[in-house]
């Protein structure tokens, strides 16, 4: 009926599992399924940006599903398990990793989840006793703007091949900081806009064997260099938007 590469089994099947042995077996497969659902959702959100004007209802429902999965994963402590390093990495790395996420490749997703959620994880560790997702989301949303601001300063390290990209990113973060209604609205409404060529970006990413800091940025700057400033802004707005969704939850 449906031919895709992802695993087909549904989550609802877990209710049928009985016995500890089966239960133990179910846990890793449940995590795997949950992860693939998360990846699928992120791809859907990213693809949303490709359409002429995506359905806001659909986007909101998918975003809520993503948030729900992340909350559950945090409660499970799965975040902690896969958290390797949460030291300050440039946010550009996080943006890069967000894109790799959207390739729906599980390994990369699991590996790259780390930098994006480093800060969020700190919150969780600080609030060990509190399980309520509300507290967590409040804490993280407070963290998010601060996180972004710190990223702006972190990125000021001069790197020649980041010129254009850097400036545009700064522009966007400044807009975010101002929190003027229009710009914030643009974040979500410009979910619709897309001159962003996912194919080009993915091809660019794929061709780089070493996914180092600079390489990732180089491939980023190639599509953006050709596009106009406003296109660049909207492209990054969307990436930011994804980060926002992930980070604030």
């Amino acid at each position: 009926m449906f031919v895709r590469g992802l695993k087909r089994k549904c989550f609802d099947g877990e209710e049928d599992i009985e016995g500890t042995l089966a239960g133990i077996k179910a846990i890793p497969s449940y995590n795997l399924q949950r992860q693939s659902l998360l990846d699928m959702s992120l791809v859907k959100l990213q693809l949303c940006h490709m359409l002429v004007e995506p359905n806001l209802c659909r986007s909101v429902l998918i975003a809520n599903t993503v948030r729900q999965i992340q909350e559950e994963m945090t409660q499970d402590g799965t975040w902690q398990m896969i958290n390797t390093q949460s030291t300050g990495q440039a946010s550009l790395d996080r943006l890069v990793s967000t894109d790799i996420l959207c390739r729906s490749s599980k390994e990369q997703a699991e590996g790259k989840h780390v930098p994006g959620y480093g800060t969020f994880n700190k919150d969780f560790e600080g609030d060990q006793g509190q399980d309520s997702s509300e507290t967590m989301s409040t804490a993280s949303s407070v963290q998010a703007p601060r996180n972004l601001q710190s990223n702006v300063w972190e990125m000021e390290n001069p790197q020649e091949n980041k010129g254009n990209f850097q400036k545009s990113l700064d522009q966007i973060f400044e807009t975010l900081e101002n929190k003027s209604p229009n710009s914030v609205e643009d974040l979500f409404s410009e979910v619709d806009n897309s001159y962003y060529d996912l194919d080009t970006m993915l091809t660019g990413m794929m061709s780089n064997t070493k996914m180092g800091h600079c390489d990732g940025l180089e491939t980023f700057s190639s599509p953006t260099n050709t596009a106009s400033n406003s296109n660049c802004k909207s492209d990054l707005n969307e990436l930011d938007h994804i980060v926002e969704i992930l980070v604030e939850s």
Binding site: R8, G13, Q33, K44, V52, N55, L56, C57, P181, V184
Partner: protein
């Protein structure tokens, strides 16, 4: 572009309007009963076709605005002409459909073929006379209500005062007067100050059929809010809040998505309302907010397939639902060109199929059944064989008689109760 996107009977049931993805409106008219063709009563023939909306381009956002007709709503007939509202994502138009079966002949200043006559040659005056002509049905746009919605319009609803109507998009609901196009009042606004906090959108809205101050709107979280316009100008505070508590045993990652309400319809008597979510139809008593009075499973066999349906986006399909004239039966669509009817009194339900093979003219539809597991009986169809591209999203029931219109992608099917 021929995909039907909305179906609506008018108040008398004599006219049936359909809107499609290409922005066209096709109106069918019921054949009048006549002695020479007794069986022709009940047939609907094309009455008028016109292009309601054209594709537009929003230069500011560099986005195309689809011409697809999202909803058509008729106005009650007040004179010889018929009026309807049709809307795409951004603009609502009021159309006047009128008949012309006479034309004037014998003008003084021009010939029969329209050429101007030389005034010098006119020797005498005559009064033009009206002569019959072939019936011509004209549709003309009388009002255009534009630029009031930032987001996609999903519903329009004419008020029982027949002077105002509401239009709802994902985040806002506006109140219009039918005569005034340059102004509308915002009556509901659920847009958060920070768009990143957006978690809920408006999915449908409708005015109460009798109380002109009451309307409801449904949300993507499975809740319905009833608002009274007398209480405040901005109805962000609801008067009633309808939500069924979630069943913790059936919770999954898809719970919220399948609880999203795709359609809400008041009963004709105004005492109940019906909501359609992905797997079920619920009937609510307006006086009871904590749970629906009736719940009908449309295609429960899909619950185990939600993962796949999420992957292919079918889980986001918006099915509509409708009442019959007596509010005793409700109808909604499903996949594989199946549609379901639930009799509220007998609690019996039927599954029927709208397809060319099973719908020969005058043939009685055979009830269908979906096999949910185990041995498949003859004539049953298994869940895996269902065609998810053949979905019936739009259905309509004649206001007084047992006539139904079912839209299956780009085909319109009309069924009637057995005539003895």
């Amino acid at each position: 572009a021929d995909i039907i996107s909305t179906v609506e009977f008018n108040y008398s049931g004599d006219l049936l309007a359909t809107g499609d993805k290409g922005g066209r409106v096709v109106i069918f008219q019921r054949e009048q009963e006549s002695k020479c063709r007794p069986l022709s009563r009940g047939e609907y023939n094309v009455y008028s076709t016109f292009q309601s909306h054209e594709p537009e381009f929003d230069y500011l956002k560099s986005l195309e605005i689809e011409e697809k007709i999202n909803k058509i709503r008729w106005l009650p007939q007040q004179n010889a002409a018929h009026f309807l509202l049709s809307t795409n994502d951004k603009t609502i138009k009021l159309w006047k459909i009128s008949e012309r079966d006479k034309r004037a002949e014998g003008y003084n200043l021009k010939d029969e073929d329209g050429r101007l006559r030389d005034p010098v040659r006119i020797k005498e005056l005559r009064v033009p006379t009206l002569k019959p002509m072939d019936l011509m049905v004209e549709a003309s746009p009388r009002r255009i209500f534009a630029n009031a919605h930032t987001y996609h319009i999903n519903s329009i609803s004419v008020n029982s005062d027949y002077a105002t109507y509401l239009s709802a998009d994902d985040l806002r609901i506006n109140l219009w007067h039918l005569e005034i196009t340059n102004r509308s009042f915002n009556i509901v606004d659920i847009k958060p100050a920070n768009m990143e906090e957006l978690t809920e959108v408006i999915t449908a809205a409708e005015f109460h059929p009798q109380q002109c101050n009451v309307f409801v709107y449904s949300s993507s979280k499975g809740t319905i809010r009833l608002c009274d316009m007398r209480s405040s100008a901005l109805c962000d505070q609801h008067s009633k809040f309808f939500e069924e508590p979630e069943d913790p045993s059936s919770r999954s990652f898809f719970s919220e998505i399948i609880s999203s309400i795709s359609d809400v319809k008041f009963s004709h008597n105004g005492r109940y309302m019906m909501t359609r979510d992905y797997l079920s139809v619920k009937v609510w008593d307006l006086n009871m907010e904590n749970r629906p009075v009736e719940t009908y499973q449309v295609h429960e066999y899909l619950r185990s397939k939600l993962c796949s349906l999420y992957e292919n986006d079918c889980i986001f399909d918006k099915f509509e639902c409708c009442w019959n004239g007596l509010d005793s039966t409700i109808m909604t669509g499903s996949y594989n060109n199946f549609f379901r009817m639930f009799d509220r009194n007998t609690r019996r339900d039927t599954t029927l199929e709208a397809s060319r093979e099973s719908s020969k003219s005058r043939a009685i539809l055979k009830p269908r059944k979906v096999c949910t597991g185990g041995k498949r009986k003859k004539d049953e169809i298994s869940v895996d064989s269902l065609d998810f591209n053949k979905k019936i999203l739009h259905t309509a029931w004649h206001p007084t008689e047992n006539f139904i219109a079912v839209a299956a992608t780009n085909n319109l099917y009309l069924f009637q109760d057995k005539v003895n």
